[in-house]
Symmetry: C2
Subunit: 127 residues, 2 copies
């Protein structure tokens, strides 16, 4: 963690709290359906905006831009603009982004593993 320590010599608890609140903030940013689906869609590939829109089924132009901005801001995707005409913008996961992807993958795996259990639970609950 590259966080600079406080000048005033505060207990490092202060740093921990700052880190935790940031973590929570990031967590909230990223723990969202579209972000996950975008990260999943990108995987190891580099995709253009329009390719992503096709890939992430059901996402609107607006949500895609919004989430891409957010992911870029948090250093999870790399946005490369080719100054051609027509413009060409490519998105790729950064190292951090690939790290996140691993956890999202795990979650997908988890979902599939427990599909049966979940379907059953739902039937029971809905009755």
């Amino acid at each position: 963690m590259s966080t600079k320590h406080e000048l005033k010599g505060l207990p490092e608890d202060a740093d921990l709290r700052r880190a935790d609140s940031l973590a929570r903030e990031i967590f909230s940013d990223v723990a969202n359906k579209w972000a996950f689906l975008i990260v999943e869609a990108l995987g190891e590939r580099t995709l253009r905006f329009s390719e992503l829109r096709d890939e992430v089924e059901g996402v609107s132009h607006k949500m895609l831009t919004q989430n891409l901005r957010m992911l870029e801001r948090n250093g999870l995707v790399d946005r490369k603009v080719h100054p051609t005409v027509p413009p060409r913008v490519e998105y790729t996961l950064t190292a951090a982004g690939r790290g996140l992807r691993a956890t999202v993958d795990a979650m997908c795996g988890w979902t599939h593993e427990h599909l049966g259990h979940i379907e059953d639970a739902r039937r029971r609950f809905d009755a």
Copy 2:
């Protein structure tokens, strides 16, 4: 996967599609800030409603109930009502819930690992 096959002898693609769409649905249910924070807070413990509300900082009464219902419906938390007065309701992760928790934990770990990178990316972006 315990899904029963269709009577009509449809190609198993049909099952796969059903499974995928269910997975996506679950994914959407669960890929939400509060659900994650609740699962994290529960961990290996059994907590009462009010304890959870204190534990998950910032969650409103309503969001907590709503997400707990959702998690219960999907078979991720077990809800045990003690018919005492005053009432006592306890929540615990099921096996499936603990599986999800593992992936959420991974995501927390990931967040902490990349805090520095993310902070930097943000500063750069916001400028």
